[in-house]
């Protein structure tokens, strides 16, 4: 898990590099952040970074793995499960938004570097996540649980609401992660449910399966 409860100065250097680099990548972008600035934030000299990571790319690569690995697993599990697709999409959304809110890293920059050839080896994992999400949406539309909307439009709206949450919460380890998760996931389901009054039933069902 990511939420180590140690004071920032007590953390191992490698961990502090990941956290400070993620914050700077999120704020200035991957290319807008120099290894000198990362080192400054961690309070070491620039070449010392290369004792912990072989390259600047390797720092980013680790952040990509943190962002994608668990999310792809959860999304795939819900996509291949049984029962209401709307409920399963809601469960995935709650998990993902909570994860983002609780995460110690600012993962803003991850999606924006995935197109770069340097990180081409991460694309398959990303595609797993995209496919699982898409399959949940299409299943819910086909079954009539969702309105007959273009799945592409629904997917884009969902993906960007999630990316916005990543950007806005930005590795701050938000305390009321559950509230934010429910608000955003509810926004999405209200927009998509054929019968919006089912929302409360879905929220209750998701709450029970967690507890």
């Amino acid at each position: 898990m990511t939420g180590l409860e140690l004071d920032s100065e007590e953390l191992p250097t490698r961990e502090r590099i990941l956290r400070e680099a993620s914050r700077l990548f999120g704020k200035k972008g991957y290319h807008g952040t120099s290894t000198r600035k990362i080192a400054e934030a961690v309070d070491i000299r620039q070449p010392s970074l290369f004792h912990h990571f072989p390259s600047k790319d390797a720092i980013m690569a680790e952040l990509i793995d943190i962002d994608l690995d668990e999310a792809a697993t959860v999304a795939q599990a819900q996509a291949s499960a049984d029962g209401s697709a709307a409920l399963r999409l809601y469960k995935y959304l709650i998990w993902d938004i909570s994860f983002i809110c609780r995460c110690a890293y600012d993962l803003t920059s991850v999606e924006s570097v995935l197109d770069d050839p340097v990180f081409a080896d991460k694309r398959a994992r990303h595609q797993t996540l995209v496919d699982a999400r898409r399959s949940l949406i299409e299943e819910a539309i086909d079954s009539g649980e969702f309105v007959k909307v273009d799945p592409e439009v629904a997917e884009r709206a969902i993906v960007w609401i999630l990316r916005g949450d990543i950007n806005d919460t930005a590795g701050q380890a938000i305390p009321d992660a559950d509230v934010v998760a429910d608000q955003l996931a509810s926004f999405i389901l209200r927009a998509l449910l054929s019968d919006p009054s089912r929302l409360d039933e879905i929220r209750v069902a998701a709450g029970e399966s967690v507890a």
Copy 2:
């Protein structure tokens, strides 16, 4: 207006610089794009850029103005108009999404550089847009047209759906801009309207006021 109907090779060099730079900024980020790459895309040598723009920053600054100026004006006009706030928000959304879809430039990178001190002089204009949008949302919630949702949550979802549209359409001058605009704006209103069945009435009313 932005949609000059000339062949790309016929356009003045200055215009081609703006278009190619915007595409590269959108794909690789502002800092990830060098002036050499821009020049290469325009098919001139790197120093020739500086005959048309005093600096790389100035290219970005002009793209920021293109993105913000008209949008802030339209949003403010709707915010200070009378009648249903939900209808006025829908009208603004339709205008903004259509603008994005028809725009000759990829404006993806604009929002991500607004925090940079270099572009601090653009922030007031951006804030005008943010405030106008926020005011429309709060008015619709207070009047009961929208569900009692946290205005912050609604605003973030809307802003990021718009940013996603900017990113996904990416200066391609989408032909069916009106369809995309209606689909995304409808998604947003379905998520927010207390009585989702009012959506069609709002879409018709917005269509009439345009024609």
